[in-house]
């Protein structure tokens, strides 16, 4: 009896603990790699577009190679006013459950971003399956057009875009923040900077960024402005800066950078931010007809030029933010930490009154370590 009772318990446990209610085979799921949102022509509804890989196309053929004659992805769209409702509509059309666990990018079209991105974010922020490492980007033009890009080596546009944003060491032209980083700034004061993407038939171009103010697209930032922001966010992992000294272009490859930002409150409540940028890198190219001897003086000249380029970019970008009365780089977060009393007194009119009055001191210190293998 005792033995039978124990056996019964084991069988019961095996049955009820197996989580059968939630078991779902892989072929009954639709893995959403990317989601794009646009504004419908009437301006009332949203257009939600999904990029889904066709798993069958990745199966190995009888000869050992993949059967690449099949379509590798499906791009489907629907219109509606609620994302949850549109997602349910997709499930009905596909007869498969949408799985957002592998979603790499959320792309928002320019026109929709002008109306606001807050409503789009909530669905993904609330969903426990969503990976917070995915990228939130703004498309120049229609977001769904990004999925039309069919690069030869990267058939899934979402993966292609994600990899470009994730592995961006060769460039400083993009913001590498992920979904959680973007939320951190957005939910603090409604402002942030998101990467800009546009697509052609065969490639995606990620350069520059979109300035978001109060959850709405406000202005584009050029590549140099974006580079300045990347330095402020301390996300520069590499990239090349060209410095022109005595009419010769020197390519400086960034190896390591650190940025420290400190607020300082003066006697008359004047807020001054000191931005201290330190960079180490190498000269990888001297664009000159005749060989150039890299002397100590020349190194100092190149370093000074690099310092000036980045400092100018910084001042220009920060001035732009002040003119637009926006704080996408978290100046308010730093002020709140260092001067909580001042922050509490001024948080209500931070962007309107305080931000335009802030003074910036930019200190740049670019160091050249090597100049290649030439002596």
């Amino acid at each position: 009896m005792n033995y039978r009772f124990r056996l019964l318990i084991i069988i019961l446990l095996a049955v009820i603990s197996a989580g059968c209610w939630d078991s779902k085979d892989i072929d009954k799921r639709s893995f959403v790699m990317g989601v794009a949102f646009d504004l419908e022509k009437t301006g009332q509804d949203l257009v939600m577009t999904l990029e889904l890989p066709v798993l069958k196309s990745f199966e190995t053929g009888t000869d050992g190679g993949s059967s690449n004659t099949k379509k590798t992805k499906a791009v489907i769209s629907t219109t509606g006013t609620s994302i949850a409702k549109m997602a349910a509509g997709f499930e009905a059309r596909l007869w498969r459950e949408l799985s957002f666990g592998h979603t790499k990018v959320i792309i928002i079209g320019e026109e929709l971003a002008r109306e606001g991105i807050g409503e789009i974010i909530d669905f993904f922020d609330r969903n426990p399956k969503v990976e917070r490492r995915l990228k939130l980007v703004i498309a120049q033009g229609e977001a769904r057009d990004i999925f039309k890009t069919a690069a030869v080596r990267e058939p899934i546009a979402s993966t292609y875009l994600y990899q470009m944003l994730e592995v961006v060491t060769p460039t400083t032209r993009v913001i590498t923040h992920n979904f959680q980083d973007s939320l951190r700034y957005l939910e603090h004061n409604g402002d942030t900077i998101l990467p800009r993407v546009r697509g052609t038939d065969e490639e995606l171009i990620v350069a520059g960024s979109a300035l978001i103010k109060d959850y709405k697209f406000n202005a584009w930032l050029g590549e140099n402005e974006t580079r300045a922001v990347a330095f402020i966010f301390n996300t520069v992992l590499g990239g090349v800066i060209t410095a022109n000294v005595d009419n010769i272009n020197y390519s400086y490859a960034i190896r390591k950078t650190t940025t420290k930002i400190r607020p300082q409150l003066g006697d008359n409540n004047q807020l001054v931010f000191t931005i201290d940028i330190n960079a180490k890198g190498d000269i990888t190219e001297v664009f000159s007809e005749v060989p150039v001897n890299i002397t100590e003086d020349l190194i100092k000249k190149i370093q000074a030029k690099l310092n000036q380029i980045i400092a100018d970019d910084m001042h220009h970008t920060l001035k732009k933010f002040q003119e637009l009365k926006t704080d996408p780089i978290g100046l308010s977060i730093l002020t709140k930490r260092r001067y909580p009393k001042f922050w509490n007194q001024n948080k209500a009119h931070w962007k309107e009154v305080i931000v335009p009055e802030i003074k910036f001191e930019v200190k740049t210190n670019f160091i050249i370590r090597h100049a290649g293998i030439l002596s």
Binding site: E131, I333, P340
Partner: protein, 377 residues
């Protein structure tokens, strides 16, 4: 005392750590960030001090009556009927506490792991699994807890080395919260540090009482330090504002951080696994304590027969809250119960034991005597 119901000295901190760490640890950073912002760290340190004082009082009482459980000495201190009422109230306390833990666990598991599985099935599976071991006595529980401890201790200690995004600035500005709000946050977070009160029931089963106080405090301190580590990591990586917004920020933190070992893309699943095991050990210890206290109250030799009825009662009690808000309110009532028990009944019993000259002097003194005797035979 049966052999299988004895607790070895080294198992005391193991039991204490296992009962403290569990479901409440997961949403603690959120509660602290919401109620005290960056000062949540200070509030938690204050809560840890309260938990240490509580553990000290509990052990003092246990050592006054080293061979008796709460149910046995309470009638001697306050009289038979009030003692019986207090025993029933303590039963209700453990019943309620286990129900809170079970429901919080089941709800979180449903949201993150098993959205289609009925809540009832998650609760019954957990209770059933815990009941199987709880029926077998204290020693198997303690041994299981030792295995469980190794299972989460190493990953927890390794976790900081994999957190590549961490900003110390997130802990600023400190001391911006007024004393009242700070204490409110500390009391609100105490649920994550409760558990040492199980010793009121199972403390009498400790085989040798030498070092009981030190080991219990070590257990509470270790659990508090591990929880503080988790809270700090969450604040520093996700930011205080984002932590406050999320219900279970630790899971989201894992999903946000860059994957250290590329072949394990869903590293969050490992964390879920550890968390389930931790929740299991908490429910298991509480269920055993509850059934054992019932057996002692009704003077029954074995607590085995009380395990299933207790589990059934826990199940029905855990079903009462309708939504997240009610579950949180459910948990806050438990905090009040804990405060009354630890800072009301326990000191009162200690005081009464001295007034009525019941129990033994604290073991430290008898130990000294024993040492003296050994030194001068």
């Amino acid at each position: 005392m049966k052999t299988r119901d004895t607790l070895l000295n080294q198992e005391i901190p193991v039991i204490v750590i296992n009962v403290i760490l569990g479901v409440a640890t997961i949403n603690l950073p959120s509660r602290l960030a919401r109620s005290a912002g960056p000062d949540g760290i200070i509030a938690f340190i204050a809560a840890s001090c309260i938990a240490l004082i509580a553990a000290f009082l509990i052990v003092c009482l246990v050592m006054r009556f080293p061979d008796q459980g709460f149910a046995e000495y309470s009638p001697k201190l306050v009289g038979v009927i009030p003692g019986f009422i207090l025993n029933i109230l303590l039963t209700m306390y453990f019943l309620y506490g286990t129900a809170v833990v079970l429901r919080t666990f089941s709800d979180t598991a449903k949201v993150f792991l098993l959205p289609r599985t009925p809540l009832e099935v998650i609760m019954i599976s957990m209770l059933f699994t815990a009941a199987v071991l709880a029926r077998n006595g204290l020693q198997p529980i303690a041994r299981s807890c030792q295995i469980i401890l190794f299972l989460f201790f190493v990953p927890l200690l390794l976790l900081p080395f994999f957190i590549s995004i961490f900003d110390f600035g997130e802990f600023l500005p400190l001391f911006q919260t007024d004393f009242h709000s700070m204490m409110k946050a500390a009391i609100g977070s105490i649920f994550a540090l409760t558990g040492a009160e199980v010793l009121l029931v199972i403390g009498s089963h400790v085989h040798i009482k030498r070092g009981f106080m030190r080991l219990t405090l070590l257990g509470v301190l270790t659990a508090a330090a591990l929880t503080l580590l988790i809270v700090s990591l969450t604040f520093g990586s996700l930011s205080v504002e984002q932590t406050a917004k999320l219900q279970d920020p630790i899971f989201e933190m894992i999903k946000y951080l860059p994957v250290p070992v590329l072949f394990i893309e869903r590293v969050d699943l490992f964390i879920f696994g550890i968390w389930i095991v931790l929740a299991y050990s908490t429910i298991l210890i509480l269920l055993f304590t509850l059934s054992h206290h019932l057996a002692e109250t009704f003077k029954v030799d074995s607590s085995k027969n009380f395990v299933i009825p207790a589990a059934v009662a826990i199940y029905y009690l855990a079903k009462i809250p309708v939504n997240d808000i009610e579950i949180e309110r459910f948990g806050s009532f438990f905090n009040i119960g804990w405060l009354i028990l630890v800072f009301g009944i326990v000191p009162l019993f200690l005081l009464l034991s001295y007034i009525r000259k019941q129990g033994q002097p604290l073991l430290a003194k008898s130990e000294k005597k024993e040492k003296k005797r050994k030194a001068n035979p």
